[in-house]
Symmetry: C2
Subunit: 302 residues, 2 copies
């Protein structure tokens, strides 16, 4: 129902087999990108997908490895004949940065809308509920939780008992209130059970571990977290550069009680993240190293 694809898993600099940071979420024909490092448009093409349904790009921050692919991506989007607006959202200053980059993409066939945050915030977009939360990097940086809600179960027996006309069943399931010809009002809550568990993905890179991450990642189906360094002895470097080690990420995953952890945003000095997964899994067992093109189709429970 919610498809997740890690397009690029590289931090700072790309490697021949590792594009820079980008995550793609696909749900119901509207796609969301989080970050857009150099090569994002190529990574997408490698999957055989078109950029056209991408209508929202969320930026964690404006370091080049997270945004350098934007001009090319938007040009490809135009070339894919998108004419609907695209929303770009991220920290304060986003519009200034993007306008500056667009000096090499001055003519795009779709309007660009901007949404800048000046603190933790929530908003809805095309069925996605998005929470942007501050993390702790050397510049203002946000993590994102993206949720898909799921309505309660429709009780057909109850609808029959209440004599609700059949033609209202579908609108009621979609959450619409209907009125019969005799003036009777039918509300969704009359026939719908309590909301069921939806889907939740949390993504955070370029940050030290924080309580805000644990809080926002809580109960995620998938938690994608930076792991700049695999080596335990790089903890001081991680602190200095405001990044994390693999085991720090695992600690967050455990405390947030997520279902699955993917590590990403690897240092170019880390050619083989797999090597360090042993110690990660001692802390949090369902942990996996991210790699370019890694996908997961998240399904509703039951």
């Amino acid at each position: 129902m919610l498809d997740v694809c890690l397009l690029g898993s590289g931090g700072m600099m790309p490697l021949p087999y590792r594009f820079l940071t980008s995550l793609l979420l696909r749900y119901n024909g509207n796609n969301v990108l989080i970050d857009c490092g150099e090569g994002t448009q190529v990574a997408l093409k490698k999957k055989g997908w078109t950029p056209k349904p991408v209508g929202l790009i969320l930026f964690t921050h404006f370091h080049a490895d997270h945004i350098s692919g934007l001009p090319g991506f938007l040009l490809s989007l135009g070339n894919a004949e998108r004419t609907e607006p695209i929303l770009l959202a991220g920290p304060k200053g986003l519009e200034r940065v993007v306008r500056s980059l667009l000096i090499i993409a001055p003519e795009l066939p779709f309007p660009i809308e901007y949404r800048e945050f000046s603190g933790d915030t929530e908003f809805d977009w095309e069925g996605y509920h998005i929470t942007a939360f501050r993390v702790n990097h050397n510049v203002t940086c946000y993590g994102y939780s993206v949720s898909i809600s799921r309505s309660g179960r429709f009780d057909a027996q109850k609808a029959k008992e209440l004599g609700i006309p059949l033609k209202f069943w579908n609108p009621l399931q979609k959450g619409e209130t209907m009125e019969g010809e005799d003036g009777t009002v039918y509300r969704p809550e009359m026939v719908m059970g309590p909301p069921r568990k939806g889907l939740k993905v949390t993504y955070t890179t370029d940050t030290r571990p924080t309580e805000n991450i644990v809080k926002n990642a809580a109960e995620s189906d998938l938690f994608i977290c930076e792991g700049m360094y695999g080596e335990e002895d790089k903890i001081s470097k991680a602190k200095e550069n405001k990044h994390m080690t693999f085991t720090e990420a695992a600690g967050l995953a455990k405390r947030a009680n997520v279902k699955e952890l993917w590590l990403t945003h690897f240092s170019p000095s880390l050619p083989n993240p797999k090597e360090y997964m042993g110690q990660v899994r001692q802390i949090f067992s369902p942990a996996y190293p991210g790699k370019d093109g890694k996908t997961l189709e998240l399904q509703y429970e039951d």
Copy 2:
């Protein structure tokens, strides 16, 4: 002596196996890049090379596919610990465009120098002689000829006959004029033969065929020319978008009497340029389709 590597052969949009436009020239420890599309830094890493010796980047024009990789490339250059200046050269407006892009790479450990052209021009850089010449695109665009000159042969017999002290032989070969203790002046032309044929590479993309290209590409050892379209029936599209077909490029190569032609800057709609080489070779036999990573080591004659 002069190594040429086509880092990226894609025009307009990259494909999974085709980075955007970029050419690397390597000579005597100082490297020149022509254009820097998205993925250039990755293409370079794929060859196993460091960006550090790149001290000059020439830009044909500012369409995104020719410059979108610049912020990432410069950041990688900084990361490779370059501290010497880098010279960026291209059409008027270059500094404004680059400064705008560098909003995501504000701190680089080397100075950037700019050289903007307002017409055909020539200059020397670290042993390279560079000619920038106007071509015919829908924005101001330049082609480049890059030459390495070669001095004449040293005549040891003559040096002996003239009684030139042995310690002056090497400086004279390097073109220096020397003076003996008795005041005798020794000039290179006394012992050096006439300059021998050097090496010449000409590179031009994003243009219709022009006389200026034929003139500047004349007698090149390697002529790298755009071939946006392989299909002959795309000639009207080529004219409209100010590009070329393969056979038009072959016609230029023949008239310029070059040694070898590489086609590049392929349309994303052209997945397999090889298919169209038959008709190209009927016009100009030593013609090859470019592809990412294609290299040639140009050697002096004899």
